[in-house]
């Protein structure tokens, strides 16, 4: 239970921390710095002490069930544990080994893999709560987090739903209703004429009223048809005519609407916290404009766009909306903001904890997950609006198991190698910020400003049944530039490797270093505009390329004892270099043709690279080496995956991941390279391949059907024999020509099962 005693304990710990820090600062810094730090600590102290006097516990919570999985389940359980609650995890049979299942004090199986039968199964979760004696349920995000029936069902059982009241969930869940309430609360909604526009004259009148540019659209419209943007009267008249005829011909309905057109649209949202005693505060904004397939990928706080006045205005309106609807708990008001004039317009309100909440936590120091529990326990909000300030800048990348090279399709597979970034090769944060993070230990940032909320670990499978989010990677820095720098390094250092698993780290890395994104001048169309034909990897700068080459060459020299090698790099195009070690710290690189004949190029073409630092870490059972390297005074992190079986291999193929690029590198001595031209290049020849039963048994499942495309090594069928399940994999890539067996069929040795061509 949240006993006042416990709170006092937590609080006093922080006070101790803070006073200790003040002591440290007092001694070590100039007066100015000390005063600055002192102010910071004072505001923190206020944050942590203001509550003790005013807090009136209404409800006892001692055990929390988290009705979710993956990283968010762990994030919430961490907060619950910090508050001294017992935790209960629920899991589907596909998640038996999952991390969240083991992180909790107790775990309860709620059903088969399909989420409708498990994580969306209200009765099963309530049964779990009752049987484990949980007195509160936190829904996380997604799944049942904004489900009125779930909240009501819990209420009926006398179990506290950690989230907003049902009235607020219901009101904000309805798009039209929420807009109406927003308008009532004085929140800006997108200007427009509510009703039919009869003539171009009327259109001009309306447009003048709401201001150009405007969007003319067919009221029956959709799919971009009958939609035109007009930025002056002349264009409007034309747009009106065209839209009318388009609407008539496309939908048989010529009614038109006019709405304010938001130029350079950006997605910015305001976090609010509201208690059951009518107190509401708003927290600084998060910018979530970088989206793909209408889903956020990269979020940051604060937004590079907003000024304090706009921020205040947006915040106050958000708070007003919360008051209007009688909101409780944490919530988020989403706005569409024009990058042109910072005008903002209400989109919707999310009545849950958002995925991207850590960035707000980082810049405000307020633990949102803990706050939700405190509010649920009936406490009064312990922060006042004037206590809230912005310190530094934070970025979050959502790391998904998805294929950025193929329209972000989800990917599944086993994580063979996993290591979270620590950024220990960078300078730690400044003393003030570092001390702040130390005092806010519960937010889980390390002294280098990196936090990873992950739901996976080495050896786990990414199941196909759920959202393929691997983790949230958050970095915090003094300012946006610093936070971005840390993020770029964290992405380079983040190792996620599996045989067939593909993830979006390279893509995130590409966005982080995209000049448009770095400038801060972004819109929700950033990805569409910057990568119009889709993402195809990153071309490295010369320095980066050389750094990657030196890293692999150093590895090769260390392992084989050679001092010169020919390196073939296949990133977007094939290049070949002659690399030699001039002395311990100097490498010579020369570009040579792909069909090199062994004649040394002009020595004048040789470039020298100094490498002053080289350190490797072996990961994932030895197949991945994470290399920290400094070349020409640039620090870099290079991931190298060894494809051969031995360190001593004469010809060493590696896969290199760095700076958002992933490519093959092939190293061998010069005298071997010149002979390669005689080797036959093996092209994948398509031919019939028949998968035969390796042993007699029963077909447990067949995972492909005719005309499916399969890749070599893909799971095709499961054969049960000797009471063991044997995964049968495709012998070759191709298309399934015929499936010769059915589920449950008993088959004999060498019986053909699946034919691939």
């Amino acid at each position: 239970m949240i006993a006042s005693e416990h709170i006092r304990q937590v609080t006093s710990a922080h006070i101790w921390n803070a006073s200790h820090l003040r002591y440290v600062f007092g001694n070590r810094f100039s007066k100015d710095k000390a005063r600055k730090a002192s102010n910071l600590i004072d505001s923190l102290l206020k944050h942590f002490t203001s509550k003790s006097s005013s807090h009136v516990p209404k409800r006892n919570i001692s055990k929390v069930l988290v009705a979710n999985r993956g990283e968010i389940a762990i994030r919430i359980m961490r907060a619950a544990k910090q508050l001294g609650f017992k935790t209960v995890a629920v899991f589907s049979t596909a998640d038996t080994n999952a991390l969240h299942t083991r992180y909790a004090d107790e775990a309860y199986c709620i059903g088969p893999p399909s989420s409708t039968q498990s994580y969306l199964n209200i009765s099963s979760i309530i049964k779990a709560a009752k049987e484990t004696g949980a007195d509160a349920v936190h829904p996380g995000y997604g799944f049942l987090s904004e489900h009125v029936d779930f909240a009501e069902a819990l209420e009926k059982e006398g179990i506290k739903f950690v989230g907003p009241n049902t009235k607020a969930i219901r009101a904000m869940g309805d798009k039209i209703e929420s807009k109406r309430i927003a308008q009532r609360a004085g929140v800006y909604i997108i200007d427009g004429y509510i009703g039919e526009i009869g003539s171009d004259k009327q259109a001009i009148e309306v447009a003048k009223e709401i201001g150009f540019p405007v969007m003319v659209k067919a009221s029956a419209g959709g799919g971009g048809k009958g939609m035109r943007v007009a930025s002056n009267e002349k264009e409007l008249i034309e747009a009106f005519r065209i839209c009318k005829s388009e609407a008539e011909s496309s939908f048989g309905d010529s009614r038109l609407l006019i709405e304010k057109y938001i130029l350079k649209p950006r997605h910015i949202e305001i976090q609010i916290l509201a208690d059951e005693h009518g107190n509401v505060v708003y927290l600084p904004e998060r910018e979530c404009s970088v989206q793909r397939r209408n889903q956020k990928v990269i979020e940051e706080a604060p937004s590079p766009l907003l000024d304090p006045a706009t921020r205040k205005k947006m915040g106050e309106q958000a708070a007003a909306l919360a008051r209007e609807v009688g909101y409780t708990s944490a919530g988020t008001v989403e706005y569409l903001v024009s990058g042109l004039d910072k005008s903002f317009h209400f989109l919707e309100m999310n009545t849950r904890l958002q995925v991207e909440h850590p960035i707000t936590e980082a810049i405000t120091g307020i633990d949102l997950a803990q706050s939700m529990f405190r509010i649920a326990a009936g406490e009064k909000l312990h922060i006042k609006q004037e206590d809230i300030s912005i310190v530094g800048s934070a970025i979050e990348c959502r790391i998904y198991a998805e294929n950025p090279y193929s329209n972000f399709l989800p990917s599944v597979g086993n994580i063979r190698c996993y290591k979270e970034p620590t950024l220990e090769h960078l300078k730690p944060l400044s003393h003030e910020l570092g001390a702040r993070l130390t005092s806010l230990q519960h937010l889980n940032f390390n002294p280098y400003g990196v936090r990873v909320d992950a739901g996976v670990e080495e050896g786990l499978d990414i199941p196909i049944f759920y959202d393929p989010l691997i983790s949230k990677l958050v970095t915090f820095g003094e300012n946006r530039k610093d936070a971005l720098h840390r993020m770029a390094n964290a992405l380079d250092e983040y190792v996620i490797d599996g045989d067939r698993l593909i993830h979006n780290v390279p893509f995130c890395r590409a966005v982080i270093s995209n000049p448009k994104f770095v400038s801060g001048d972004i819109t929700t169309n950033l990805i569409k505009e910057e990568w119009p034909d889709g993402f195809h990897g990153v071309a490295l700068s010369k320095d980066q390329n050389f750094q990657a080459i030196i890293a692999t060459a150093s590895l090769y020299f260390r392992d084989t004892g050679y001092t010169s090698t020919v390196v073939k790099v296949s990133n977007r195009q094939e290049q070949q270099f002659l690399v030699r070690k001039v002395d311990n710290n100097i490498f010579g690189i020369q570009s040579i043709p792909l069909d090199w004949d062994g004649i040394a190029p002009e020595s004048s073409s040789e470039e020298y690279v100094s490498s002053s630092y080289f350190k490797t870490t072996i990961l994932g059972g030895g197949r991945v080496e994470l290399i920290n390297i400094e070349t020409n005074k640039n620090l870099g992190v290079i991931q190298v995956k060894r494809l051969g079986s031995s360190r001593l291999d004469l010809v060493a193929p590696y896969t290199v991941s760095c700076f958002g690029a992933k490519f093959e590198v092939y190293l061998r001595p010069g005298y071997v390279a010149v002979l390669e031209k005689f080797m036959k290049r093996r092209d994948a020849v398509s031919q019939h391949k028949i998968l035969k039963a390796p042993m007699p048994g029963t077909v447990r499942s067949i995972n492909v059907k005719e005309k499916d495309t399969v890749s070599e090594g893909q799971e095709v069928a499961v054969l049960e024999a000797m009471k063991m399940q044997n995964v049968l994999r495709a012998p070759a890539s191709g298309i399934v020509k015929r499936v010769h067996c059915a589920q449950g069929e008993i088959i004999s040795l060498d019986q053909p099962l699946v034919e691939i061509e």
């Binding site: 670990e457 004892g561 050679y562 291999d649 005298y671 390669e676 080797m679 000797m722």
Partner: protein, 578 residues
């Protein structure tokens, strides 16, 4: 023998360049031209040409010329290199010439050729007009990672690389040299077979080679790399050696070719189907390692040699583990790598990768009988042989092929003082008529024999199932196992609980049986029972496996086959059930 094989750097070895083929030299020079201590000019001190030599000799009555020395210069320049026209023919087939192969295989500049001037002695069928120095095989010594090896490479461009009496003598000489010096021998086979023109002389030559292969077996490691045709009697030399490498597409091995097969059995079959690399690496088990091309094959041979001792009296070179991978490393993932469901498969490779130095595992017979894994790794720098049942394939059962594969590997390790680490997860022997008719009893006995006979350090880790006879076979304590560990997930019993209850309690109702199953599981399907009886030395936390094995290897470093308590009785030799 140096303890660290990696002493020679490219520069150092180049400094010692003596008799290297000239185009090779050119390349070497190219790749290191800027090196500080290396003069870019190679000077050959030639005697000045004396114009009036004959005249002077006559006039002064003094012998001024050594005719042989002059002739030899000619020979040295023209003999030890490939004819470019002929080389092109070999290159068209995607193959390298014999000398180019040795260039890839050996450390640069270390090859020393023997018998380069040998020619055949056949004077019939026009052979007298076709005498080429070397007679179709290049033999000599060289170094791999600084360690000596003996090599021979058949040259397909000289009389089709066919084996004549003198060709065989050259090979025999190098095999003898290997045994005398105690260094491994590597043969690169690319030959049309026996030289028919020489008749029985060629056959006798083969027999001489086979005899030496047998006599050298267990004395020095013998490796064969099949890089072209290898048919008829010729196949038996590789078959007698320890490891056979094959190159895809270019290598073929069979006793009788497709034509003979067709005329005798009416069976239509291509060379590739009959004896290609994929057939021998996955179905017959003749080939231990299969490679995509010549360069890959030779690179792999180098890697394999790095794991092996030079002879039975030597120990394998120590390659210290990377600093970031100390022998004390623990791997928490191992604690949960075995699935809770006893019937769910997992890949034994993953356990091996995480236990050995830097995840390096040189797998032998990767595609043949994948239900058992064998190969070489290092632990704390020391070479170990790894044997593991792989539940990801056929549930990890032992069948005929798996037994034979593992047995031969265990015997190799025992012959060359390589400790054996065995990871056990075996549900038993594969049942069925195919197996019984095929003689699984005989073949399974080979593995049992090999394990029982082996006197090298034997460390066993039972990760999950060790059922029935297969428990006994897989390096059990009773077969002179040194250290036998079990993970907490281990189940050591005569059979699975259900099967056992079916037999013990025939006639009980299903419900009663279920109760008995539970009882049996409690009683036998845990490592506790075996641990209480001392059949298991210790139940260990999986994450500490590496640390413990490394410690045990130090403890057992001086284990000596003659002074162990259960020493092998004196005898001529045992009678393994072949």
């Amino acid at each position: 023998m140096s303890a660290r094989p990696l002493t020679g750097t490219l520069e150092n070895t180049f400094k010692a360049i003596g008799s290297v083929p000239t185009d090779f030299l050119r390349i070497c020079i190219a790749s290191i031209r800027h090196s500080r201590n290396f003069s870019s000019k190679v000077t050959v001190h030639e005697a000045p040409k004396i114009v009036n030599l004959d005249q002077a000799e006559k006039a002064y009555g003094v012998k001024l010329r050594n005719r042989f020395a002059e002739e030899y210069r000619d020979i040295a320049e023209n003999t030890f290199k490939d004819d470019p026209k002929a080389s092109a023919r070999q290159h068209q087939r995607g193959k390298l010439t014999a000398r180019e192969r040795l260039q890839v295989l050996l450390d640069p500049g270390t090859f020393r050729e023997y018998d380069g001037l040998v020619t055949h002695r056949c004077d019939q069928f026009g052979m007298q007009k076709n005498r080429v120095a070397g007679d179709g095989v290049v033999t000599g010594i060289g170094k791999i990672n600084g360690r000596n090896v003996c090599v021979f490479a058949q040259d397909f461009l000289v009389v089709g690389g066919t084996l004549s009496q003198t060709h065989a003598q050259k090979i025999c000489k190098i095999l003898d040299r290997a045994v005398d010096a105690g260094v491994p021998v590597i043969g690169l086979n690319d030959s049309g077979g026996a030289r028919i023109q020489e008749g029985v002389d060629a056959l006798a030559g083969y027999a001489e080679v086979f005899k030496r292969n047998v006599l050298s077996s267990g004395v020095v490691p013998q490796i064969s790399v099949i890089m072209g045709p290898c048919a008829g009697g010729a196949v038996y030399s590789p078959a007698l050696t320890d490891f056979v490498f094959m190159v895809k597409d270019s290598a073929h091995m069979f006793l009788t070719g497709p034509e003979v097969v067709r005329s005798v059995t009416q069976e239509q079959v291509t060379q590739e189907e009959l004896g290609g690399a994929s057939v021998h690496s996955s179905r017959s088990g003749v080939a231990h390692v299969v490679s995509n091309d010549d360069i890959e094959a030779l690179s792999q041979v180098r890697s394999l040699i790095s794991y092996l001792p030079s002879s039975w009296k030597d120990i394998a070179p120590n390659v210290p583990p990377a600093e970031t991978d100390p022998p004390t490393r623990e791997y928490p993932l191992l604690d949960r790598i075995v699935p809770a469901d006893p019937n769910a498969p997992y890949d034994m490779h993953e356990i091996i990768y995480r236990t050995v130095d830097s995840g390096e595992f040189f797998e032998i017979h990767k595609h043949f009988a994948p239900n058992v894994l064998v190969g070489f790794s290092r632990m704390n720098g020391q070479t170990v042989g790894i044997v593991g049942n792989n539940p990801a394939s056929l549930a990890g059962v032992l069948d005929i092929n798996a037994s034979v594969k593992a047995a031969r590997f265990v015997r190799f390790c025992d012959a060359f003082q390589i400790p054996i680490i065995t990871f056990v997860d075996v549900p038993g022997f594969l049942p069925g008529t195919a197996q019984e008719y095929g003689g699984i009893i005989r073949h399974g006995a080979k593995l049992l024999y090999a394990y029982a006979e082996a006197t090298v350090p034997k460390i066993t880790v039972i990760t999950r199932k060790a059922y029935g006879g297969a428990y006994c076979v897989m390096s059990s304590k009773q077969l002179r196992g040194d250290v036998n560990y079990a993970w907490p997930t281990a189940e050591v019993a005569v059979m699975g609980a259900k099967g056992a209850v079916e037999i013990i309690f025939r006639g009980l109702t299903e419900e009663q049986k279920e109760k008995q199953v539970e009882e049996y599981e409690k009683e036998f399907l845990s490592p506790m029972v075996s641990a209480r009886r001392g059949y298991i030395d210790e139940i260990i936390q999986p994450r500490t496996t590496r640390k413990r094995i490394c410690e045990d290897l130090v403890l057992l470093a001086n284990k000596d086959e003659w002074s162990i308590r259960e020493a092998t009785p004196q005898k001529k030799h045992g009678n393994i059930p072949l």
